[in-house]
Symmetry: C3
Subunit: 140 residues, 3 copies
């Protein structure tokens, strides 16, 4: 019998960079008792995003953030939207280049993540923010 569950999880970021959120998400999914299904994570912001990436070497997260900082420079004169400072519009561009939503199959009561995959909330603003993720799980 298929059922569905929805919740909202809050995370406090420490400013620009990747924050691992795998255990919070996996823990909620496990609590529903669903063994097989589809989990969707959605970020309710336009200057943060979601990423599945390597959870082993922390240099990967540093490199990712440095690459994006070079690709989308803060204070770029191309940008007109600067209401909240030089990192405002770059944060929107970085979010557009990545993902606001991820759907992950659940099988054998576990998320079907690969061995080296973790789920990250990517804060694109330089200052810390409180970010909300909406989770939806459909399964049996």
């Amino acid at each position: 019998m298929l059922r569905q569950f929805t919740t909202s999880l809050m995370f406090q970021t420490r400013g620009r960079g990747l924050l691992e959120v795998t255990s919070g998400i996996a823990g909620w999914a496990a609590g529903t008792g669903v063994a097989e299904g589809l989990l969707t994570v959605f970020v309710r912001h336009t200057s943060a995003s979601l990423l599945i990436q390597e959870n082993a070497d922390p240099d990967v997260r540093g490199d990712l953030d440095r690459f994006f900082a070079r690709l989308v420079p803060d204070g770029d004169p191309l940008f007109r939207h600067r209401d909240e400072g030089p990192d405002d519009m770059p944060a929107h561009v970085r979010a557009a280049l990545t993902a606001v939503q991820l759907s992950i199959p659940l099988s054998g009561s576990r998320l079907a993540l690969g061995t080296w995959q973790g789920i990250y909330l990517w804060e694109h603003r330089t200052r810390p923010h409180r970010r909300e993720l909406v989770l939806h799980l459909l399964g049996a």
Copy 2:
């Protein structure tokens, strides 16, 4: 009792740039009577994409499009595929860098979009096109 609904919505773009499609999508979802579920939007083209971004300051949409035009220049000599002109291959690259599909949870009969989030169809070709979105909603 879980049910599903599918439809197809057509949108006429005005050439390159972001077209808001939130109300068309939210209106269809509301008409199904589903209060809690998962809505998926899929674009059936390879030179347009989907984006959730800020719906307040129109400069954000202009900046996004200007950034992508600089990142993926029309007529770049790197590209061999030019069947439909200098904006043909850049449109494919821009689509690859963004999203062709979005899934958004539905809760309390409303899409779980954040306060500043709108859903946009991003036309990457310079000329206007007719674009088709397929919508799928699963819920109760």
Copy 3:
């Protein structure tokens, strides 16, 4: 009556570039007998990704890969993570810029792909790899 199905498909890549996987995915979906639903494809790796792109002119795939190779150069001194060689960190960045998951509606017993859309597994490492996709289908 809604039902769900999950499977795992293995693909052998030939090194960096796009490998079409549409028929393997569509074939599995057809075998379930589901006529209307939602198919999700998830890649269990952090240096390969999923892409829906033009399936007609092979130059499009070549151009896409050349563009990404220029955007994220192998051996870039910006990167600290080089455990597996000069293409290691660029593969992670290329994966972050594209997608690890795609959800495609199914209607009339067919994936709702546009005429020119194919599903590709994008290998970002220069050497061939064995890659696993997890598929989840929910429908009736």
